[in-house]
Amino acid sequence: MAVEATELDAAGIGELYARFTARKRLFIPIGLLVLVLFAMVATSLGAASLGLGEVFRAIVAKALPFTGVQSNELADVIVWDLRLPRVLMAIVAGMGFAASGATMQGVTRNPLVSPYTIGISSAAGFGAALAIVLGVGVVGTDKYIVIANAFVFALLAAFLVYGMARIRGTTPETLILAGIAMMYLFSAATSLLQYIGTQEQVAGVVYWLFGSLTAATWDKLLVVSIFFAVCFPIMMKYSWDLNALAAGDDTAASLGVNTKRVRVISVTLATLVTVSIICFTGIIGFVCLVAPHITRMVIGPDHRFLLPCSCIVGGLLLLCADTLGRMVIQPAEIPVGIVTSFIGVPMFAYLLMTRRRQYW
C-alpha cells in the first residue's frame, strides 16, 4: 500500500513539473508568431507607407514564386531592397545579443554582466576609431577597414581578458575584473583618438559608438546569421551546464561538469556572436543585458529555456527600438543604440517593480 501511495505522489509531481515546463515551451511558438507579425508591421512602416497586404504579397511573391502571388514593382523594391534587410538584421542582431548576454550572465553567475563587460565593445570602438581617425587598419581594404578593425580589436581584447583571467583560474571574478580593466584602457585610447581627430572624424567615431542599423545589407545579414547559426546550437548544448554553474563551481564539477571548458567555450561563442554583429552596426547597448532579464522574469532562470526565449525577446526589443527610431522624427532617424535604452529601461523598471520576487 505504501509503495502505491508513493507512486501516485511521484506521478503527481511529474505532472506538476510537466505543466510548469509546458508554459515555458509555449513561450517559443507564441513569441515567434509575435516576432513575425511585428516584422511585417515594421516592414510596412516608413517614408513610403505600405499596407500589410502589400508587404505580405511582396514577400511571398519573391520568396515563394511557385505560389503565383503577384506584387507591384515599387513595393518589391521597398520591401526587398530597403526595409527587409534592416528588419531582419534587427531581429538577428537582437537574437545574437540576447543569447550572448544570457550565456555571459550564466558563466559569470552575475546578472549584471553582458558581453560588453569583458571589454569587447570598447575595443571594437577603438578599432573603428583607429580606422576612422588615422586610417590605420590591420587587415582589409579601404571599404571594410572599419569593420575589420572593430572585429580584430574586439577579439584581441577578449583574448587578453581571457589570458589574464586564466592565470588566476578563470573564475567569474577574474573575468569581470580583467574585462573592466580592458574596457577602461580602450575607452581611454578611443578618447585620445577623438581628441586628436578632426571634427568630421570625431562625428564619425561618435556615430559608430552609438550603433545603428542604417547600413544593413543582405551581405552583412548573411555574415551575422552564419555566426549566429553556428554558435547558438553549441550554446544550447551547454545550457544545462550553465544551470549547474549557477549552483557553484564545486557543485557543478561534482555533477560532472568541466567548469573551465564550459566557461572558455561559452565566453568564446558569446564573444564571436557579439563581435560579428557590432563590427557592422556599431555598439548597440542594453539588449544583451536586459533581454535575458526580461525573459527570466517571465519564464524563470532555467537556461535550457532562457536561451531560446531570450533570443525572441532580444529580436523583438531591437526590432521595436529600430522601428521607433526610424519613425519618431521622420525623415531623420535616432540611432537604435539610443532608442534601445529609452524603451528598454522603462520596460525593465516596470517588470522590476511589479514582480513578486525580488531577484530581478
Partner: protein, 255 residues
C-alpha cells in the same frame, strides 16, 4: 570495498592540510570524519572527488582510481553534498534535484530522469515543495534537497560536508535518518564530515578522528569515542557515557 583512500597528502602553500590520510569504506557503511576546525575533514572529502588534487596518495572508488576517470564517470560514482549552497539564479527544487541527473543524461532530460527526481522528492518528504524556489527554503529543507540531488546521481558513495551544521535539533535527526535510510536501503556508502560527536556516535558505523591532517584514531563509535581521544584531539575534557555501543558525550570544559 566501495572506497579506498591511501596515504593522501595535500598542502595549501606552506600549510600541510593532509599528511597521509587513509580510509576504507565498505558497502552500506556510514563513516564519519570528526575533528576540530582545520583538521582536514573538508579538504579530505574534496580530495576524494578531486575537487582538490592531492599531491600524493591514491583514491579508489569501486576499485578504480579516480585519476583515471572522466568527470562524468566520477559523478556517477560519487555524490557530493556541499556544506552550503546558494544559487546565483534561483531554481526550483525540482530543477535543483534534476541537476543530479546530469552525469546520466546525454541528449536532454528524459522521462526516466523526471521519474527518479519525483520519487526522490517523495522519499525526502519534499513533495509539497517541488516548484518552490530553492533559495527560499529553510536550512533543513535545503539540506534535504541537496541530498536528494546527490542521490539522483545514483552514486556508489555519498560525500557529505557537515550535513547538519546550521540545522535545528529536529532537522538534524531528519537529515541523518534520511542519509541512514538511503545508505541501508540503496546499498550506497556515506562519508560525512560532522562536528557533533553525539550525532556521529548515533548514526555512524565507524568514526575517524582527524587531527592536524592525520588520522588520530579510527573504529566503531564505542571504541574511539573515549575521553582520552576527545582530550587529545579537541583539548576538551569530556565525560563519556559508555552504557551502550553508542556512547554519548558530555563536554565539561577546555583542558
Amino acid at each position: 570495498m566501495k572506497l579506498i583512500a591511501k596515504d593522501v597528502h595535500l598542502s595549501y602553500g606552506d600549510i600541510r592540510a593532509l599528511q597521509g590520510v587513509s580510509m576504507d569504506v565498505r558497502e552500506g557503511e556510514v563513516v564519519s570524519l570528526v575533528g576540530p576546525n582545520g583538521s582536514g575533514k573538508t579538504t579530505f572529502l574534496k580530495c576524494i572527488n578531486r575537487l582538490l588534487q592531492p599531491e600524493r596518495g591514491t583514491v579508489l572508488v569501486a576499485n578504480r582510481d579516480v585519476r583515471d576517470m572522466g568527470l562524468r564517470e566520477m559523478a556517477r560514482l560519487l555524490g557530493y553534498v556541499p556544506q552550503s549552497a546558494n544559487h546565483a539564479f534561483p531554481a526550483t527544487v525540482f530543477d535543483t534535484v534534476l541537476l543530479g541527473r546530469r552525469p546520466h543524461v546525454n541528449w536532454g532530460v528524459g522521462a526516466k530522469d523526471k521519474e527518479v527526481v519525483s520519487r526522490l522528492l517523495v522519499l525526502m518528504g519534499l513533495s509539497d515543495m517541488a516548484l518552490r524556489q530553492f533559495n527560499e527554503l529553510s536550512g533543513g529543507e535545503r539540506q534535504k534537497v541537496l541530498i536528494a540531488r546527490a542521490l539522483a546521481q545514483e552514486p556508489e558513495v555519498l560525500l557529505l560536508d557537515e550535513p547538519t551544521s546550521n540545522l535545528d535539533l529536529r532537522h538534524q535527526f531528519e537529515v541523518l535518518n534520511l542519509i541512514h535510510t538511503a545508505v541501508k536501503e540503496r546499498g550506497v556508502s556515506a562519508v560525512m564530515a560532522i562536528h557533533d560527536l553525539n550525532l556521529a556516535s548515533r548514526f555512524s558505523d565507524r568514526i575517524i578522528f582527524l587531527k592536524n591532517g592525520s588520522v588520530h584514531a579510527e573504529g566503531r563509535p564505542g571504541e574511539v569515542l573515549t575521553s582520552g581521544n576527545i582530550g587529545e584531539v579537541y583539548g576538551v575534557e569530556a565525560i563519556v557515557n559508555t552504557d551502550s555501543d553508542r556512547p554519548y558525550i558530555i563536554p565539561v570544559g577546555p583542558v
